[in-house]
């Protein structure tokens, strides 16, 4: 039915099967859209947030998808600036993933603000000293970069490519992609960092606050580093899922091994920096504000958290995946590699959780209480919405666009 749109030389499932799959995910999207409309029309009183928990599930999801989508800028940097040529076999996929993640982040932000129609104030009336302003500017610009990086792949669709203008445009964009990628890396450095800065500058919140370099708290650099380190893990996880769903090998092992190795070293160096940061914060920063580290985790018996979250984030989901990916044997073993990249993706998400939700939970005034928060269905629906939307975008891209240059070679199709 849609065979004229499918790239040449590759096999796709039948259209009805594809349609049913999309319809199921589409139903989830509709649920999310309903939740979104409820939030917009009724206001944020439909959420579980309150004046103690003004930042909640959405902001965590926002930070997490941006970190997970960090694979796009880092892989683009490696491919176009450092000329790691093997990565050309995965770059299209990583860009699409980044596009989905950043589109999700922008959508979530549009739902999260109390006056969505005033969203443009952040640009027009910008306070250049706010980390959130930096996030908004760089995030929007980088989304434009990702769109630019995605366009040539869209134009390579079999039918679109027949249009001479599109064909030429796609070719020209490929020609200057290094400049776009460099701009993207510049923007990403700042928005990933400023997302870290959002928490790090809060000197009224001892759990989040960090000293730093000039105007940037240490979390600024840690967030950028962790996004570059763990982003590729998420790219590899989604690739693995795509391969499992399509029952095909889509990228050669040497490409994956290379990306995994780079990611492993990035994770290991990041986690060393993170451990140093944690020790300094626990022994110098927090005590200077009159607080012991144990207070933030155990709440002297009153808190909902415990040290397990710190151990899970740093050791289980940081040190372990780092080591598994830098050791050749475990990196090249599909099972241990899969464990490592899943742990990595969980680790960075957990870090963002800690830097948003745990920050909000901790009381600062000695007579205040720990704050608790439980998301409501509109929050959950709108958080799942971009995930479902992302699945549809990736499915459509995989079906109709030449996303994986090695697919044909790895899956020879006998012409019927």
């Amino acid at each position: 039915m849609d065979s004229a749109l499918i790239p040449e030389g590759v096999k796709r499932c039948s259209f009805p099967k594809f349609f049913i799959g999309i319809a199921i995910v589409g139903a989830v999207v509709l649920w999310g859209v309903y939740g979104m409309l409820v939030c917009w029309l009724k206001g944020l009183n439909v959420t579980g947030m309150d004046d103690y928990y003004g930042f909640a599930l959405w902001i965590w999801a926002d930070l997490a998808v941006i970190a997970l989508g960090g694979g796009a800028f880092f892989t683009g940097l490696l491919k176009y600036i450092f000329k790691v040529d093997e990565l050309k076999n995965i770059i299209n996929f990583v860009v699409i993933l980044g596009f989905v993640c950043y589109a999700s982040a922008l959508l979530i932000l549009a739902i999260d603000i109390g006056q969505p129609l005033r969203g443009w104030f952040i640009f027009w009336h910008a306070n250049v000293h706010s980390m959130l302003t930096e996030v908004a500017f760089c995030l929007s610009c980088y989304f434009a970069v990702l769109t630019i990086e995605f366009i040539p792949n869209i134009l390579e669709n079999r039918q679109l490519d027949k249009v001479p203008f599109f064909h030429n445009l796609s070719h020209n964009m490929h020609g200057v992609m290094a400049i776009f990628a460099a701009t993207g890396a510049f923007l990403s450095f700042f928005h990933q960092g400023s997302l870290g800065g959002v928490a790090g500058v809060l000197y009224g919140r001892p759990f989040a606050y960090r000293e730093g370099l000039l105007v940037w708290p240490w979390t600024f650099f840690l967030f950028t580093w962790s996004a570059a380190a763990f982003g590729p893990c998420f790219s590899m996880v989604v690739l693995r899922i795509t391969e499992a769903v399509t029952k095909k090998k889509l990228v050669k092992d040497n490409v994956i091994h290379l990306l995994a190795k780079i990611s492993g070293w990035m994770i290991t160096t990041y986690i060393i920096a993170k451990i140093i940061d944690t020790i300094y914060w626990a022994t110098v920063t927090a005590p200077s504000m009159g607080l012991k580290m144990s207070f933030f985790f155990t709440g002297e018996g009153n808190g909902p958290y415990n040290y397990l979250i710190l151990i899970t984030e740093i050791f289980l989901c940081g040190v372990v995946p780092g080591l598994l990916l830098i050791v050749k044997s475990t990196r090249e073993n599909p099972t241990t590699r899969l464990i490592a990249i899943i742990l990595g993706a969980i680790g960075v998400s957990l870090n963002r959780w800690v830097m948003v939700l745990q920050v909000m939970a901790v009381p600062v005034m000695p007579f205040d209480k720990w704050a608790l928060y439980m998301p409501t269905w509109p929050e959950i629906a709108t958080t799942i919405l971009p995930v479902a939307g992302g699945i549809i975008v990736i499915s459509l891209a995989y079906r109709y666009l030449p996303v994986f240059p090695q697919e044909k070679e790895l899956n020879e199709v006998t012409v019927e």
Binding site: G43, L44, N45, M49, D50, D51, Y52, G54, F55, D112, I113, G114, Q115, P116, R118, G119, F121, I122, H125, A126, N127, H129, S130, M131, L132, T133, A136, V198, V201, L202, Y203, G204, R205, P206, P287, S288, M289, G290, L291, K292, V359, M360, V364, M365, P366, F367, D368, A371
Partner: protein, 286 residues
Amino acid sequence: MKQNNKQAHKFGMVIDLDKCTGCGSCMVACMSENNVPVKEDESDKKDSITWMRVYKLNNNKPFPETEICYLPRPCQHCSGKGDHGHSPCVSVCPATATDYDYSTGIVSQIYTRCFGCRYCMGACPYHARYFNWWDPKWPDGMESYLSPNVSPRMRGVVEKCSFCFHRYQLAKEQVYYDGEERIEDEAAYQTACTQACPAGAIVFGDLNNPDHQVTQIVKPNPHPEHDNHDVVGKSRNPKVFRLLERLGTNTKIYYMSERKWVRKLGDNYLDGEWEKADNHHGSSHG
């Protein structure tokens, strides 16, 4: 007038916690003065708007040694680290919707500029900022009692205590009308909570004016503290303290109490630190 200078006012407050009976008059006065809407169900305090909130503290001791203290908490109008005007909330607002006024020391909120990101609420350790989760509503007939001097706020924006800024504006107009240059008279500008307190526990005035009672009680140290350069304006009165002073937020709300356990609850201390701080305060300035 980028920095605090001698010409500028620095409005602040000292609240005598030993006088406060927890009657809540300040809260009521504040709500009616500033057109704060009323929720249909006010039982969940975590999303109702109380610019002035009275906390109930206790000394955590069993009967008969139990003691209670009520602590009214308006916006603390922080001057920020080093007294430079970079309050925790002002410095983070992405849309310049909250501002530090160097001529009064008041942290303002521009409702029509705020787009409701709530970053300022996350930044404020005092929970002095409130979000309008609902459309503002008042019980039937109460609309007639709204103050024409204060704009009501719409759903989806943040609001907070403004030190009754409209009263400052009215006082300024009066001063100009009288042919004077600036507000010198303490009584010319007073907040609603100050006037409503039946116990006289709240004293409001200009911390830069040595004739004002608040300055005489607080005796603020204009210089940064030796052990923490971020802290400026620490009280030289040993019975006076500020909330979370060590963070360097440099609030302009001072609290006063004879009771040690109350003063201790003003900040976080590691084991043994409080005794040292209290003794030092007492010996050097007391």
